[in-house]
Every structure is written in C-alpha cells, then in structure tokens.
C-alpha cells in the first residue's frame, strides 16, 4: 500500500524539480539579457523617431519627453497614443505622433508622423503592417518613395479635399492593385495632422521630466541622439 503513495510522491517531486530547474534557467537568462533587450527596443524607437524628423534641430531626449493622449476619435483608434516632443533650447520644435490606421487591407497599420511646430510634416514612416507583400507594402520606405510624398505637406498647402489618393480626387498616388492601403495611411496622417493643429499648445504645455531635468543629463541625451542620427545617415 505504501508503494502507490511513494510513486505519486516521486512523480510529484520529479515534476516540481523540472519546473524549478526550467524556471531557474529562464530567470538567469532573462536577468542577463534584459538590459540588452531594453536597449535594442530603445534603439529601434530612436531610429524610427529620428527618421521622421530629418530636418528638425532639437536637443532634448525624445524618449524621455513623451506624453500619452487619448487617440483622435476620428481615426477610430481609441487606444492611447504616444506623442514624442522635440524641443530646441526649451522651445517646441516638432512632435512625433504615433498613430494607427485601423482600416488597412489586412489589419491596422502603425505609423509615425513627424510634424514641425508650424504644422508642416517633416516625415512619415510605417513601422508595422500586414499588407500584401508586393502590393500594399509599397508604403514602406525601403520599398518605394511613396511615403516621402507626405514630406513638407501641411493643412495650409494641401486642402482637405486634396488629402486623398488621386482616385478620390486628392494628390497622393495609389498603387496598382492596392488602393485601400494608401487610402488608410493618407487618412490616418491627415487625422494626426488635424489633431496636432487643434491641440498644439496643450501638447507642448505639459512638461515632463525632460524640461526640468539636470542639464548634464540633457546634453548627454542630446549627444547620443545626434550620434544615432549620424550612424543612420552613414548606413543609408
């Protein structure tokens, strides 16, 4: 009678031991890689942010100086969106709005929109999408120049009816075999621009840690951002 009980205990210990050993190995690896993984994510974010602010001078740490707002209702994305703010000598210079076009051909499209303080777009990049390869993926900067057609556009030089693809009477090209994708991106960019203009003052009003931060740290951050921008230029 003691045998089954012992064997159940044995099995239990065996499982517990495996779970413990497995978790231990994972925990050790996690501990040793987590800084590097964080750093990698940061680098990816910095690269994205600097790529949409090509002609903007700023000296603050973009990542530290961001606010989270409730998304513009018109885009249909009611998730909270991050807005990164670029300042030069404390004065607002530009902002990067992260937005989501919910109506892509196959799912949401994540977009970074860089907007200068005067309301002119400095750059747009698509950071995540699941559009058809070879058709809809021309929205990627690596695949085609299409996304650069947003550069220097503003609500002043492009009227609301022009903020559309050519098929709908606007100024932006559509792709052969894919109209839904560029239509979604154009709409999302336009919405973020409208949102930015409407809320410009409040967006820059909230000073988070960056403005009051210790000067040395600020300079250090600015240098690292510049370095990052330089290396990206070299790579290109």
């Amino acid at each position: 009678m003691a045998n089954p009980a012992r064997s159940i205990l044995h099995v239990g210990f065996l499982l517990a031991f495996s779970a413990l050993a497995g978790t231990g190995v994972m925990a050790i690896t996690h501990y040793h890689t987590k800084d590097r993984i964080e750093e990698n994510k940061r680098q990816v974010l910095i690269r994205g942010l600097t790529s949409v602010l090509p002609n903007v001078t700023y000296d603050n740490d973009l990542i530290a100086d961001h606010i989270t707002v409730k998304g513009p209702d018109k885009t249909g994305a009611n998730k909270s969106l991050s807005i990164y703010r670029a300042r030069y000598k404390g004065e607002p210079a530009a902002a990067v709005v992260t937005t989501v076009a919910p109506d892509g051909y196959s799912g949401p499209i994540k977009i970074l929109v860089g907007i200068q303080y005067n309301g002119v777009i400095s750059g747009v990049r698509v950071v995540e999408h699941r559009e058809t390869p070879g058709l809809g993926d021309a929205i990627e900067a690596e695949r085609s120049d299409w996304v650069f057609s947003f550069d220097r556009r503003s609500r002043q030089n492009t009227s609301p009816s022009q903020w559309q693809v050519k098929k709908d009477g606007g100024v932006f090209d559509q792709f052969t075999g894919a109209t839904i994708t560029p239509r979604a991106v154009v709409r999302a960019v336009h919405n973020s621009l409208q949102y930015f203009e409407m809320h410009r003052e409040e967006l820059f009003a909230v000073m988070e840690n960056a403005g009051t931060a210790d000067n040395q740290q600020k300079q250090h951050a600015a240098v690292s951002v510049e370095k990052q921008a330089e290396t990206i230029k070299q790579v290109k």
Binding site: L14, G22, T33, I37
Partner: protein, 234 residues
C-alpha cells in the same frame, strides 16, 4: 546499435522532418518568404532540438512513463524561451522579422517527437547528434524553400542578410534579375504550399531513382550467382 551514419542519413534524408515526417510545417511555410528568414528559424529550431535532446537524454533514466510528456514540454518550453531571449538580445532585427515564430518552436512537433522517439532511449552523445542532423535537415529544407520562393518572388537570394550577419553581409545579396517585378504568388502563402510540394516531389523522384539503381545492381548480382536471367525473384 545506432551508428552515427544512420543518424546522419535519417536526419538529412530518410526521415527528414519536413519532407518525410511532415512535422513543423506551420513555421516552415510561414517564414520562408526569404532564404535568410528560413535560415534564421532553421538554426533556432536546430539549437532547440540539440539542447532538448541533450537534456532529455541526460535525465532519461529518471523519467517516469506517466509524466514524461509534461516533463518534455517543460524542458522544451524552457529551452525555447532561453533561445528566444538570446535572439532578442543579440539578433534583434532578425527576431523582429521572425516575430511570433520563435516562441512557437515550442509547438513544433519535431522537437517533442525526437525527445520521445529518440532522446528518451539513447545516450546523450547520440541524442545530440540526432538533434543536430534532424535540425540540419529541417534547416536545409527551410533554406531551399526560402531561396526558391525568394528567387521567384523578388529575383534575389539572401536579401536582408544583414539581419543575421551584420552590415558586412549586405554584399551577400545575389541579384538574379535586375528590374524584376517579382512573381507575387511565390512569396504569398500559396507559394509556400506549391514550393513544399515541389521539394517533396523532387525527393520522391530521387528516392525512386536510387531504388531502381539498387534493383539493377541486385539483378546483376543475381545473374552473376545463378547465371540466368531471373526477374521473377524480384
């Protein structure tokens, strides 16, 4: 006794996990739009196979039949998570491209299949070899299918090699045709099914040729021994 030769032959050809056992097809089809993606996932899967086989073989005498499957799952999940963390840290760009398919190695039936069928009964040494060659056979299929689809779809081979080998590898890209618009179907999901079908068919044809070759040799041997044409023996 399992000889090293049998392990190599089984892993690469006779019992190739992708072409014969048809295991792990979901990641196989999903990531092979380019050769580099295939190679990346292949190597990750191979590392997982070698490590889990080693661990399972190491503890094979302490396994209890009733709980061996949960233990395999625990081991595989731990090993794959470790690989995933390491890739995220040291091959971040590739990790971003492969996305969900790295953690999904856990569900690749090849891994648990080899643990159950091989590693739980053999020595650590042989189990690791089995993991290496089963993984290598899987990787080769991923790489071939990726190269095949990429060549048709983009007109290149090894594009985005820098994701894996760093910036120095940018010149590795082989452009087969300039200004090639691409045969879109090849890089879409149907292309994966067709490509895999072609690979399996090619393997079958080669197998058949080899078999015919062996028959001819056999017939010749028979003739030599009996001195007669004896096709009825076959």
């Amino acid at each position: 006794m399992t000889s090293v030769r049998t392990i190599v032959y089984d892993g690469l050809w006779k019992n190739n996990q992708a072409l014969v056992a048809l295991l792990g097809l979901c990641p196989l089809m999903a990531v092979t739009a380019t050769a580099i993606n295939g190679l990346g996932l292949g190597i990750a899967t191979m590392s997982a196979l070698i490590l889990t086989n080693a661990v399972v073989a190491l503890i094979r005498n302490h396994l209890k039949t009733e709980v061996r499957i949960p233990m395999f799952v625990l081991i595989i999940a731990s090993v794959v998570t470790v690989i995933e963390l390491l890739m995220n840290a040291y091959l971040h760009e590739l990790y971003r491209v492969l996305g969900i398919f790295v953690p999904l190695i856990v569900t690749n039936c090849t891994v648990i299949g080899r643990a159950e069928a091989f590693a739980s009964k053999r020595s650590v040494h042989h189990s690791m070899l089995d993991g290496l060659f089963m993984g290598l056979g899987f990787t080769i299929v991923l790489l071939l299918l990726g190269a095949f689809r990429e060549a048709l779809g983009y007109g290149t081979i090894f594009r985005q090699a820098e994701l894996m080998f760093g910036d120095a590898a940018r010149h590795m890209v082989i452009t087969l045709a300039d200004d090639f618009d691409g045969f879109l179907l090849a890089i879409l999901p149907p292309g994966a099914f067709m490509g895999l079908a072609v690979l399996i068919a090619v393997k079958k044809i080669i197998d058949k040729r080899i078999l015919q070759g062996q028959r001819i040799i056999k017939v010749q041997n028979v003739q030599r021994v009996t001195g007669s044409n004896a096709p009825d023996i076959l």
